[in-house]
Symmetry: C2
Subunit: 347 residues, 2 copies
Amino acid sequence: MDLTSQPHRRFNPLLDEWVLVSPHRAKRPWQGQQEKEQAEVRPAYDPTCYLCPGNTRTSGITNPKYEHQYVFDNDFAALLPEGEPGTYEEGGLLRAEAETGHCRVICFSPRHDLTLPEMPIAEIRRVVDVWTDEFRTLGADPNINYVQIFENKGFVMGCSNPHPHGQIWSERTVPDLPAKEARAQKAYFEKNGRTLLSDYLAIEEKTKTRFVVENDTWVVLVPFWAVWPFETLVLPRRAVQDLTQLNDQERDGLADILSQLTIKYDNLFEISFPYSAGFHQRPTDGQDYPEWHLHMHFLPPLLRSATVKKFMVGYELLANAQRDITAEQAAERLRALPAVHYKAAQA
Amino acid sequence: MDLTSQPHRRFNPLLDEWVLVSPHRAKRPWQGQQEKEQAEVRPAYDPTCYLCPGNTRTSGITNPKYEHQYVFDNDFAALLPEGEPGTYEEGGLLRAEAETGHCRVICFSPRHDLTLPEMPIAEIRRVVDVWTDEFRTLGADPNINYVQIFENKGFVMGCSNPHPHGQIWSERTVPDLPAKEARAQKAYFEKNGRTLLSDYLAIEEKTKTRFVVENDTWVVLVPFWAVWPFETLVLPRRAVQDLTQLNDQERDGLADILSQLTIKYDNLFEISFPYSAGFHQRPTDGQDYPEWHLHMHFLPPLLRSATVKKFMVGYELLANAQRDITAEQAAERLRALPAVHYKAAQA
Ligand SMILES: O=P(O)(O)O[C@H]1O[C@H](CO)[C@@H](O)[C@H](O)[C@H]1O
Ligand SMILES: O=P(O)(O)O[C@H]1O[C@H](CO)[C@@H](O)[C@H](O)[C@H]1O
């Protein structure tokens, strides 16, 4: 079967879902919406930014004059820690249950004008440590059974402030997508005695066709079943269940690989590359999850240029995920990009 | 349990998924991306539009001087009718299969400046007939087992041409979302002997809290488990498996209800309201599907105004669907809107 030119479906074993791949379609002309390019020159400090050190937020709280990272509870949190437990049911078809949790914001840097690819690796390593501490602390709460660490980067990804920051939502219930990945990983582990992602990595390692960057402890690849045009999967070589199980070398490795990857991303269209990204880790209900293999997904929307994104709309929202360029083409393009950030190269 | 102010999760029995509802969060200030408002004044005929009657498309094909609807094969189709069948497999984790099908485009009107809410009901009824004929003809092909009829409306929904049109993608395999809905409907029907959506409608009919518009044959409601801010479900009162089973009165009813609904939508922010919408119907493999209850989903992205949409990003892409206003609030707002299109009212 020809995977390079013929329309086909690929299976996502983590989610038990398919993606329709239309390799011949990348040539179609684009007459639709163009995204605004985000203003590139930002000051190191912006007096109107609610995330910059020393500024006062709309809630009236003043940020400390932080020098590295700063974590706080979101002033407009989707989840609240207090709340009556309870359920609602009608005719078996209307079902609801109360949910509680925390929404936290993590500023990656005091510098308003930086993002991960422009930060020194030592500072990214500090971000890794903060993520790890947050996961440990939040997860230790008996009312918190899942911790979702993520970043929305760029206006096109609904990010309302360009100051480099991510979010951490933690809650009582394991959300839908991690629950699905948990089921698939458990079934695989029970059958094979190894994690699904270890075996997947072993297959990819043979040809490295879909590899993007790698170091001693981590690999970034475009998964065979990628949906977003330049989607990647960030995988530790050693199967661990969560961030707290990474050793010192692996934490350094994560900082290094995130730097490598996000520099490639910025270099692709020579803009600050928008994406949503986040970790998937074991639930924090205190159980052991040997089948869970910590990983990170990067889901970037841009398709052809700095201003033309892939729209997940009619067919995608109602029927099936769909992509135009293949995972192999995307990996090859990312691999071929320089390892030095375009701004540093220009300077 | 308080569904009006406390964060909670609601269950979607059609997809076996949950949505996190954060009713208290609608008040958060918005400093992020604003959508461009689409130019409102369009000519009835645009010589540069590739969908207007008599114009030549990039493929070199000239459109007929059509007077009602016009259907043709997409010049840049994601699915192709010819193709070697075949599968690909590696280590049980890399799996692909060839896919074939058709992508068709349906112009709703020769008028470049109209959309469904501004079209006469008699013309919408003609659109219903074209959808029905396409479903019948495409579905009769032994290589086509599923037909997805949909519309992407507005630049914000990836629509590349404002000329009123929809699409029809048909293929060998039943795509992921209809396959999920099929499983849920089948399990329900086998257990209860009635369609899931008949029983759901009976529950909603008791209070009509989530009703938006209705007529003798159809109901539009905001489903209890809606994800998009003003998402609706268009339901025939009689359980039929597909469009070909609707009688004449029900087809008229569908045209009428689509007119009523899309006028409300345009009136919400007094703009041409963007959405993706589409039908879910039984597979076309020739089997009988008594559990299938034909319906249509409207998935509109706008949240607060003509220019602020709901972003389905980090938490939503990695963890779980999430919404701010409740289904009940959305239904109430839509219900309260005038039944006359704002442009007609202004004229
Ligand atoms: O076919 P169109 O209108 O050019 O394209 C649009 O609808 C398709 C079907 O939902 C999507 O795959 C595309 O991403 C979107 O831009
Ligand atoms: O919390 P923020 O950054 O204001 O909001 C953004 O991320 C959230 C989590 O993915 C989404 O629910 C919002 O739609 C999005 O605009």
